[in-house]
C-alpha cells in the first residue's frame, strides 16, 4: 500500500479535506432544492466512476453502464416491496445482481475494443431499458413507487458517504497490482499479452468491478426517490455518465465527480430558462469536444493543484 500512504501525506490529505468539508456543509449552506440536485449529481457520479474505471484504465468506453444503475434500482424496489427485505439487504442484493449482469454483459462485450465496445454496451444497456419498459409486472413505462428510505438531508449524507467509499474502492483498485496490469493492458494490449497477461480475463474482471459503482448509485437513487422507472437504465443516463467523465477529465479520481456535478447543475439551470435547453447542451457537447477535448479538469488542475499531477494513481 505504498501508493496509498503517499496519498495520505499531509498536503494531499488537506486537498481532500477541503472539498469533503464543503460537501458536508452543503445542506447548511444551500437551499434544499440544490441539496437534492447535488444528491442526484452524486448518484450520476457513481455511474461515471464505473465508466471511468473501464475508460481510463482499460481504454474501453462503456455506453451502457446505466444498465447496472437501472437494474440495481429495480432490484431494490422489488426486494423492498415484494420480498420485504431490510434496506441493507436490498443494497447487497442489488450489488450482487449487478455483478452478475456485469459478468453476463462483459462476457461478450469485452471481445471488442474501442467504439465497437461502446456500441455493444450501448445496445446491451438499451435492451435492458426496453425490457423494463415492456414488462408490465414492474410497472412498464410508468415504473414503480414505494415508500422512500431517506428524507432529503440524511439521503444526501448517505450518497456522499457512498461516493467516498467508492473513491476509496477506486483508489484501492487503481493502485493495486491489478490496476497497474489493467493500465498496461489498456496502453498496449499486444505487449501485455506477450508478457503473460490473460487480457480477456483482466478486462472481464475490470468490467464486473466497474459495475459495482453504478449499482451503488442505482440502489441509492431508488431508495432516495422512492421511485424507479426504465429511464434509469437508458442510454441517456449512460451517455451523461460518459460525458461527465470526459468533461471532468477521465483518468482522474475526482474528474467524474466534478463532471457530474457540473453537468447536472448546468442542465438544471439551463432547463429553467428554456424548454429547448437540450439543444444548447447538444451544441455545448460538440463545441467542448471540438475545442477542449481534454476536458476541463486539466484547466482546473493547473489552477488549483499542480503537484497532484505527478501521482501515479492520478488523483
Amino acid at each position: 500500500m505504498g501508493e496509498i500512504s503517499k496519498l495520505l501525506s499531509l498536503p494531499r490529505v488537506f486537498s481532500y479535506l477541503v472539498p469533503i468539508a464543503a460537501a458536508l456543509g452543503v445542506p447548511y449552506l444551500m437551499p434544499t432544492y440544490y441539496v437534492s440536485l447535488l444528491a442526484d449529481a452524486f448518484a450520476l457520479a457513481l455511474v461515471a466512476m464505473g465508466v471511468n474505471l473501464m475508460l481510463a484504465y482499460a481504454e474501453l468506453p462503456s455506453f451502457g453502464h446505466a444498465a447496472f444503475y437501472g437494474v440495481a434500482a429495480y432490484v431494490v424496489a422489488m426486494a423492498f416491496m415484494w420480498l420485504k427485505m431490510p434496506v441493507w439487504a436490498c443494497f447487497v442484493l442489488a450489488v450482487i445482481v449487478s455483478l452478475g449482469l456485469g459478468l453476463a454483459i462483459g462476457s461478450f462485450s469485452i471481445k471488442r475494443r474501442g467504439i465497437y465496445f461502446a456500441i455493444i454496451t450501448l445496445v446491451s444497456g438499451e435492451v435492458i431499458h426496453r425490457i423494463f419498459w415492456y414488462t408490465r409486472a414492474v410497472g412498464g413505462s410508468d415504473g414503480m413507487s414505494f415508500p422512500r428510505w431517506f428524507e432529503l438531508r440524511p439521503g444526501y449524507y448517505f450518497v456522499l458517504a457512498l461516493v467516498l467509499v467508492a473513491c476509496l474502492l477506486f483508489l484501492v483498485i487503481g493502485s493495486s497490482p491489478f490496476g497497474k496490469a489493467l493500465r498496461a493492458i489498456g496502453e498496449n494490449e499486444v505487449r501485455a499479452r506477450f508478457v503473460g497477461y490473460n487480457v480477456e480475463l483482466y478486462k472481464r474482471i475490470a468490467f464486473v468491478l466497474s459495475s459495482i459503482f453504478p449499482a451503488l448509485g442505482g440502489a441509492f437513487i431508488a431508495g432516495y426517490r422512492g421511485f424507479v422507472n426504465p429511464y434509469l437504465a437508458s442510454v441517456h443516463i449512460s451517455s451523461e455518465a460518459v460525458i461527465a467523465t470526459l468533461i471532468g477529465g477521465s483518468g482522474t479520481l475526482i474528474g467524474p465527480i466534478l463532471g457530474s456535478i457540473f453537468l447536472v447543475f448546468l442542465m438544471d439551470i439551463v432547463s429553467s430558462y428554456w424548454v429547448g435547453y437540450l439543444t444548447i447542451i447538444g451544441m455545448a457537447i460538440v463545441l467542448v469536444i471540438l475545442f477542449m477535448p481534454q476536458g476541463t479538469i486539466p484547466l482546473t488542475r493547473a489552477l488549483v493543484s499542480p503537484r497532484l499531477r505527478k501521482s501515479k494513481v492520478k488523483l
Partner: protein, 245 residues
C-alpha cells in the same frame, strides 16, 4: 542439452499467399540461432505462428517436447518464452521502471486486487534495468527514450519474465553501431550466463556471423539452408537468394 524448440511442417497461408511453408526447425537448448532471409521471407510470420499470434494452418510447434501449437500468447509467455517485435512494442506512456516491473508482475499468482506490489519484483526489475543499462533512466517515460534505448527496453521486458527461450525480432534494427555492440553483448551474456536459448531474426550480417551458433536461412516461406555460420556463408543458394544472379 536437448531440443528446446521444434516445428514440424509448419504452414501459414494468407489468402493465396504461402507465408510459411512446411517449415521444420529444431533448436537446441542454450543455442543462439539466427533466422535470416530476404524481406518477405516469412520470418516474422514464423515467429507469430510459434508465439500464438497466428494459428498455423498446418504443422506443429513443440516446446521442450510439449505441443504448444495454437496456444494463446499469454499461455506461451507463461511457459517462459519471451519475444520482442519488429516494431518496438513497449508501454510508451509508462516509465522505464514500470515497463519492466509490470512485465515481472505477470508472474504473480492471482490478480493482486487487494495486495501490494511484491518487493521482490521491484528488486528484480532493478536488476534487469542494470543489466540492460537503463537503470539510471528508470524514472523516464518510455516515449522519451531514443529508438535504440527503446529496443533495449523491450529486450529488458522480454527478460523480465525469466525466459528459457528468447525470441528477438530484428533486435538491432535502427540502432547505431555503439548500440548494436551493446545489444550483441547483452544477448551473448544473457545466453551464456543465464543459459537462455536465443532465436533471433536479424538482417545485420555482421551481428549474425558474430553471435550465432547456427543459422537457418528462409526464403519465400521455406527453409533453404541451415548450418554453422561459415557453412551458410558459402552456400551458393543463399548467395543467390540474397544477391541474385
Amino acid at each position: 542439452m536437448g531440443t528446446i524448440l521444434a516445428t514440424r511442417g509448419l504452414t501459414k497461408n494468407f489468402g493465396g499467399l504461402s507465408a510459411v511453408s512446411d517449415f521444420d526447425l529444431s533448436v537446441e537448448q542454450g543455442e543462439i540461432r539466427a533466422i535470416i532471409g530476404p524481406n518477405g521471407a516469412g520470418k516474422t510470420t514464423l515467429f507469430n505462428c510459434m508465439t500464438g499470434f497466428y494459428r498455423p494452418d498446418a504443422g506443429k510447434v513443440l516446446f521442450k517436447g510439449v505441443d504448444i501449437t495454437g496456444l494463446p500468447p499469454h499461455r506461451i509467455s507463461k511457459m517462459n518464452i519471451s519475444r520482442t517485435f519488429q516494431l518496438t512494442n513497449i508501454f510508451l506512456r509508462s516509465t522505464v521502471y514500470e515497463n519492466i516491473r509490470v512485465a515481472r508482475q505477470s508472474r504473480m499468482k492471482g490478480f493482486g486486487l487487494f495486495s501490494t506490489s511484491v518487493p521482490a519484483y521491484e528488486e528484480e526489475a532493478a536488476n534487469i534495468l542494470r543489466k540492460i543499462g537503463l537503470y539510471d533512466r528508470k524514472d523516464e517515460l518510455a516515449c522519451n527514450l531514443s529508438h535504440g534505448e527503446q529496443r533495449h527496453l523491450e529486450i529488458g521486458i522480454a527478460l523480465a519474465t525469466s525466459p528459457e527461450l528468447l525470441m528477438l525480432d530484428e533486435p538491432t534494427a535502427g540502432m547505431n553501431p555503439t548500440e548494436v555492440k551493446e545489444t550483441v553483448n547483452t544477448i551473448r551474456e544473457v545466453a551464456k550466463t543465464l543459459g537462455v536459448t536465443v532465436l533471433l531474426i536479424e538482417h545485420d550480417m555482421r551481428v549474425v556471423m558474430d553471435i550465432s551458433d547456427m543459422i537457418t536461412v528462409m526464403h519465400l516461406g521455406k527453409k533453404i539452408a541451415e548450418g554453422k555460420p561459415e557453412e551458410v556463408r558459402k552456400n551458393a543458394e543463399v548467395v543467390r537468394v540474397y544477391f541474385g544472379g
